[in-house]
């Protein structure tokens, strides 16, 4: 193993490209021997000698490779190489320079020598010798990419190792550049290009070129530019198995940074880039613009100052002559989107954004200079007339550049508001000539343009004020603030003076008013107040004029919502002070437009701050008019839901302020007798709102709340603080149970309700005697809640259920079903035991099937009292930390699995199929899909039955994209066609009602849309003919679907 000759042989054997790792191992062993002096370098060369001088190309190459590899190992780790060794080696390797087969390895060996500790550039002039050899004898056209790469690597290593020497010694300096230019000429390989760009960049960075005095240097700079710009714009599509994983983006950015790494390139660069900007290809244009952007960022201020006019003249028409400037909408918050770099290079809009970005960065860089701003403003002056075709584009250019700095902002605004520009339009701001007549008539179209122009100016304020690190000086001293009074007055006059038909103009003014209010520290609160009042008056006038769908009303509403959404306390206060009092005044039972105002409140109130105010005032308006009251409570419920969804807030204060009033209302309804659906509805609305308040009340307070409600509802103890009278709902049936249900449903599950088995028994007795179906269901839900959340002693409950579980006693049986539901929800053993019992009934007593099926429906049905926080986004935690549910998320899956096992035992049993139908109706589609292979045959089977069509068709719709349906296609298409176009009657009842026909057609439609069409298209002729009957169906929905299916069928023919 340690015999050097063997090691060399082994290296040579393994040095094929595919086993280079193994070879490296032997090279490293050899290097070890040399560095531990067990083998001298001379001996090693002698051993290698016959190979590196062999006349066989392959032997020579491998020998040279071995030398390079061993050099790599020893130079990187030890100082085994003496100066003498180096001199001899360099001379030897340079003689091998023209040996084409070994070229790459020779260069690699040279590169490795450069790493040697003993190597120094001055030693024997080795570095000069190497570079000179490269300049004189290297011909890139005869070598492969790998060989060329090694030469680049050699140059790179030289520069990294001996930068100081190379850049300071004039001879070496020029020779190096010469060598680089020689090497990089005509390169095409992407990996080599990356390294070439990198070297070019480093030369620009570290080398000094005296272009004014040194002709050679001038020539160098020109060559350095040409040698990289000739690739621009670079495009590259990586081959499928590229080992270097080079991307087109890498090449692009590398070239870009090279081009902008030398300020001496500037003149040529800008001229050439603007020439390329004339291209119509957006990819090229974007590349040009990104390079310009990089230039503006990296060149020195002096260079930018020298060339700003070139850049400005080259870019301004990109905006002024563009037809796509409508992407800069006045309703945006900024001119340039934050993610422009993420936009695709093929996106034409990206060019427009980039132009603005370049110009505004240029303005930022030249902020301390005096040339730019006067230059661009005088240049744009002619376009800044309202009659100019490019007026708006000039405003966009100016406003966007005004975002560059405070100084630029003030300069540009001062220019825009000069009286000969836009200043003349806003009265009282005529600082030069009092008598100047505006000879331009301000048509409505021009008024609209003017408002948009102001909009852009406001955007620049918005962008700049949010980007300044310390904006307080800006807020106090900016020029726009000086003209704000005139601007506000001008907008106001235009808003009031313009004809009511000019809705677009008015809407635009309203938008800008809202924007003015939203600008940071621009208007004082009093000024905002005045604007708000103006909008307010207009709003209520229009609503009173009975134009509910008016665009202006909508615009004002949108504005109000914007104001409440922007999170500023002052703007919220503005709405509370100005808008709310007036709208709340309209909330009156007698008001004809009550529903419109309710709608207004429903849309405008989006923050908890506003809701707080609105809720108190609305509750105070509750009157004797129950219809009115129920609108108010419904509104509150919907607002709470909406606001909680947007941003959660605690409702602690509601409990004291609003809950007593709600309870008072509930008590009034109860006292007057809850005997119709309206009363129940009202009571339900109250209870739901109460439930919300409790759910969003801090969880530590919940035990207290529960105790209070329990003693009021069970123990007849009035609670004056809550305005709650006493009840004994366990013994005396009362609709107030609905209220208590919503309390129990929303209360934290960790609370305790002291309840004994006797209490449950009393409740069961009361419930079983009830006749009113609604009251009874409420009592059943109460029992269900108690068992699910508060009474956990299942063993003692079991005998009670056993007693009630008697199909001969319907009322008792119903109660037992609800208890089973409560137990199943928390997957209790007793629950599962009775569920299984219920299933067994189907086997021995078919007459009870309907009742059993209904029972399953009740057990699985989603109820409001057990529903999760639907108002909150999935997975988000509730702010009050209340966990109100005591249900297991997998309970339905469990029931489903139990029942499905049963059904699969006897799939031909019709009752079993009915049971499955009940299940699928109440179960999420993903649970269903998890057993799709079992479900498909059962569904196909139940579709054949007339009794189960509704649910089986719905199930079919859920699983319709399954490929396994293909086998059933003949059966399926035939049955669905019959159901949709033939009257099916059983027991004197129509089987295929409109809904069934609708579902059948929907299934056919989805089959055509989702599945592999080849099978279903076999039935196309029959379907086309059969569906003609449906075209004359009495119901429109059926005719429509038939048209759609026929259309799909016709299209299928046309495409095949």
């Amino acid at each position: 193993m340690s015999d050097p000759a063997t090691l060399i042989t082994q290296f040579v054997t393994f040095s094929g490209a595919e086993d280079s790792e193994n070879a490296a191992k032997y090279a490293s062993s050899l290097a070890d021997l040399i560095s531990t002096n067990k083998l001298s370098f001379l001996q090693f060369i002698q051993l290698l000698g016959s190979r590196i001088t062999s006349s066989i190309d392959e032997d020579r190459t491998k020998g040279m490779r071995c030398l390079a590899a061993v050099l790599h190992e020893i130079t990187s780790s030890s100082s085994a190489l003496s100066k003498h060794d180096i001199n001899v080696l360099v001379d030897f390797l340079l003689t091998k320079f023209s040996d084409k087969p070994c070229f790459a390895d020779v260069i690699k060996a040279l590169t490795n020598i450069l790493h040697a500790k003993a190597f120094s550039p001055s030693l024997n002039d080795n570095l000069v010798k190497i570079l000179r050899k490269v300049v004189d004898e290297y011909d890139s056209s005869v070598h492969l990419a790998r060989g060329r790469y090694e030469v680049f690597a050699l140059l790179q290593t030289a520069l990294t190792r001996f930068r100081d020497a190379i850049t300071t010694r004039p001879a070496l300096h020029d020779l190096y550049v010469q060598a680089f230019l020689h090497v990089s000429n005509g390169e095409k390989d992407p990996r080599n290009l990356l390294i070439s760009f990198d070297l070019n960049k480093n030369i620009n960075h570290y080398f000094r070129f005296e272009v004014a005095t040194n002709e050679l240097h001038k020539h160098f700079v020109e060559e350095l530019f040409d040698t990289c710009f000739c690739y621009f714009p670079i495009s590259f599509r990586p081959p499928p198995n590229d080992p270097y994983k080079i991307t087109s983006e890498q090449l692009k950015t590398s070239l870009r940074s090279t081009l902008t790494s030398q300020f001496l390139f500037a003149k040529d660069l800008f001229n050439n880039l603007f020439e390329k900007l004339a291209s119509t290809n957006p990819v090229i244009r974007n590349d040009v613009l990104l390079t310009l952007l990089s230039a503006v960022d990296s060149f020195h201020e002096d260079t930018i100052l020298e060339y700003w006019e070139t850049i400005w003249n080259g870019l301004k028409f990109e905006i002024l002559h563009s037809e796509n400037t409508n992407i800069f909408s006045v309703s945006n918050d900024r001119f340039i989107p934050e993610n422009i770099m993420d936009l695709a290079d093929s996106d034409e809009n990206k060019s427009l954004y980039l132009v603005l970005e370049i110009l505004s960065r240029m303005a930022t860089r030249l902020d301390d200079e005096d040339g730019l701003l006067p230059g661009i403003t005088s240049d744009l002056k002619e376009y800044l007339s309202i009659t100019s075709k490019v007026f708006m584009k000039a405003v966009i250019l100016l406003s966007s550049m005004a975002t560059a700095s405070e100084r630029g902002f003030n300069y540009i605004q001062q220019f825009i508001f000069q009286s000969e520009n836009l200043g003349k339009f806003i009265s009282g701001f005529d600082d030069t000539d009092d008598n100047m007549e505006t000879d331009i008539s301000l048509t409505v179209a021009r008024q609209r343009d003017l408002i948009d122009a102001f909009g852009y100016i406001l955007i620049s304020y918005q962008v700049l004020s949010s980007s300044l690190p310390n904006a307080s000086f800006f807020f106090e001293s900016n020029y726009l603030s000086q003209v704000k009074d005139s601007l506000v007055v001008f907008l106001g006059q235009l808003l009031q003076a313009s004809s009511t038909i000019e809705k677009t103009l008015k809407c635009k003014i309203i938008q800008q008013y809202i924007k003015l209010i939203q600008l940071r520290r621009f208007l004082s609160y009093e000024e905002k107040h005045v604007i708000m009042e103006l909008l307010n008056d207009m709003f209520f006038e229009l609503i009173e004029e009975a134009k509910p769908d008016d665009l202006i009303v909508d615009e004002i509403m949108k504005g109000l919502i914007n104001l409440t959404e922007d999170g500023s306390d002052q703007n919220n206060q503005l709405i509370v002070d100005v808008f709310l009092p007036q709208v709340l005044q309209q909330i009156d039972p007698q008001n004809q437009k009550l529903s419109k105002y309710v709608e207004v409140l429903d849309s405008v109130v989006v923050s908890s701050q506003l809701l707080e105010v609105v809720s108190i005032r609305l509750v105070n308006r509750l009157s004797n008019d129950r219809d009115f009251n129920s609108k108010i409570i419904e509104l509150l419920g919907s607002l709470v839901m909406k606001v909680q969804k947007r941003s959660q807030f605690l409702m602690n204060s509601w409990f004291k302020g609003i809950v007593p009033k709600l309870l008072n209302q509930a008590a009034e309804v109860e006292a007057s007798g809850v005997n119709n659906s309206d009363n129940w509805h009202y009571l339900e609305l109250i209870s739901v709102l109460l439930g919300f308040v409790i759910k969003y009340y801090d969880s530590p307070k919940h035990q207290g709340i529960l105790d209070d409600f329990q003693s009021a509802f069970y123990k007849n103890k009035a609670k004056s603080g809550l305005k709650l009278s006493g009840y004994t709902i366990l013994e005396v049936a009362s609709p107030m149970v609905l209220v208590f249900n919503n309390v129990l449903s929303n209360i934290d599950k960790s609370t305790n309700l002291s309840i004994q088995l006797e209490d449950l028994v009393r409740l069961i007795e009361t419930t079983s005697n009830l006749r009113d179906p609604i009251l009874k269901v409420n009592y059943l839900q109460h029992l269900c809640l108690l068992v699910n959340k508060f009474y956990k002693d299942d063993d003692s409950l079991q005998p009670v259920v056993e007693k009630l579980y008697d199909l001969q006693q319907p009322s008792n049986f119903e109660i037992s079903v609800w208890i089973i539901k409560a137990l199943m929800l928390r997957l209790s053993k007793v629950g599962i035991e009775y569920l299984t019992k219920l299933l067994e009934v189907l086997d021995h007593d078919a007459s009870q099937a309907t009742i059993v099926l209904r029972s399953f429906d009740i057990i699985l049905r989603d109820l409001k009292i057990f529903s999760p926080n639907k108002e909150l986004p999935k997975g988000s935690k509730i702010i009050s930390k209340v966990n109100h549910l005591n249900t297991r998320s997998l309970y339905k899956q469990q029931v489903f699995n139990i029942v499905l096992a049963k059904v699969l035992q006897q799939p031909e049993n019709e009752i079993h199929l009915q049971l499955l139908a009940v299940l699928t109706k109440n179960i999420d589609s993903h649970v269903l899909k998890s057993r799709i292979n079992d479900i498909i045959p059962l569904t196909i089977q139940s579709i054949q039955l007339n009794t189960l069509l509704d649910t089986s068709l719905e199930t079919l719709l859920i699983i319709i994209d399954s490929n396994n349906l293909q086998n059933f296609m003949p059966l399926l298409v035939k049955r669905l066609m019959v159901l949709s176009n033939t009257k099916v009657v059983e027991n004197n009842r129509i089987v295929n009602t409109e809904r069934i026909r609708y579902l059948s057609l929907k299934c056919l439609l989805e089959l055509l849309r989702t599945n592999d069409k080849s099978t279903i298209l076999l039935y196309k002729p029959e379907m086309l003919v059969g569906l003609v009957t449906n075209l004359d169906d009495p119901r429109r929905s059926i005719r429509k679907l038939s048209c759609d299916i026929r259309q799909l069928l016709f299209e299928a023919r046309e495409s095949t």
Partner: protein, 202 residues
């Protein structure tokens, strides 16, 4: 089709402001479901009546029962919904958006007995400009759509609205001549264009 656009700058109507009945069935279905008290009654284990499929009295005939499912006659709105969403051959817009098809210009005459008598639908189209050479193509597209979507008892007449086209009579003749329409429908190229127009139908 030639590259040159005949009317490069037509007036466009906002889709939302067009009359439509599409989606009415689906929204009616959800409205029923959301009723508050229905949930309470349906939760009773012993419901008295079955809500769906009312019983038929007497012998069943071939027609759907009149009381149960009242006839919704095919009317102008339905026709408008069928043809309004056809795409214009030269703009990426629908015929309704371009006001080529207008609700007021659709007349439906249902026969007294739909099983015996003929019915008729008359549509007057308004070309966007008076020399529109595509008027016949548009008319043909409408005819194909209606023939596919209306029951066979309907006679379809498509006319150019009076005074909106230079060669009104000629176009009208072409559009209502059975032979010519049949011949046109056998032209593969034409049929491809028409199926593109109908591709956008809702």
């Amino acid at each position: 089709m030639s590259d040159e656009v005949i009317n490069a700058n037509p007036t466009i109507i906002n889709v939302e402001s067009l009359p439509t009945r599409l989606g009415a069935y689906e929204s009616a279905q959800t409205a029923v479901k959301s009723k508050l008290l229905d949930t309470f009654t349906s939760l009773s284990l012993f419901q008295t009546e079955n809500l769906s499929s009312p019983e038929l009295t007497g012998e069943s005939s071939d027609n759907w029962s009149d009381d149960d499912e009242p006839e919704e006659e095919i009317d102008a709105q339905e026709i408008f919904d069928l043809i309004g969403s056809i795409s214009d051959p030269e703009h990426p817009l629908t015929l309704a958006q371009l006001a080529v098809v207008n609700f007021a210009d659709i007349h439906v005459k249902n026969g007294p007995d739909k099983h015996k008598d003929l019915s008729e639908v008359l549509i007057k189209i308004t070309p966007t400009i008076t020399h529109c050479s595509l008027a016949t193509l548009i008319g043909l597209g409408i005819r194909v759509r209606l023939e596919r979507c209306l029951p066979p008892r309907f006679r379809i007449r498509i006319l150019v609205k009076e005074g909106t086209h230079e060669s009104e009579n000629q176009v009208n003749k072409q559009l209502n001549d059975k032979e010519r329409v049949a011949a046109a429908c056998e032209n593969e190229q034409l049929l491809t264009v028409i199926s593109q127009m109908l591709g956008s139908c809702k």
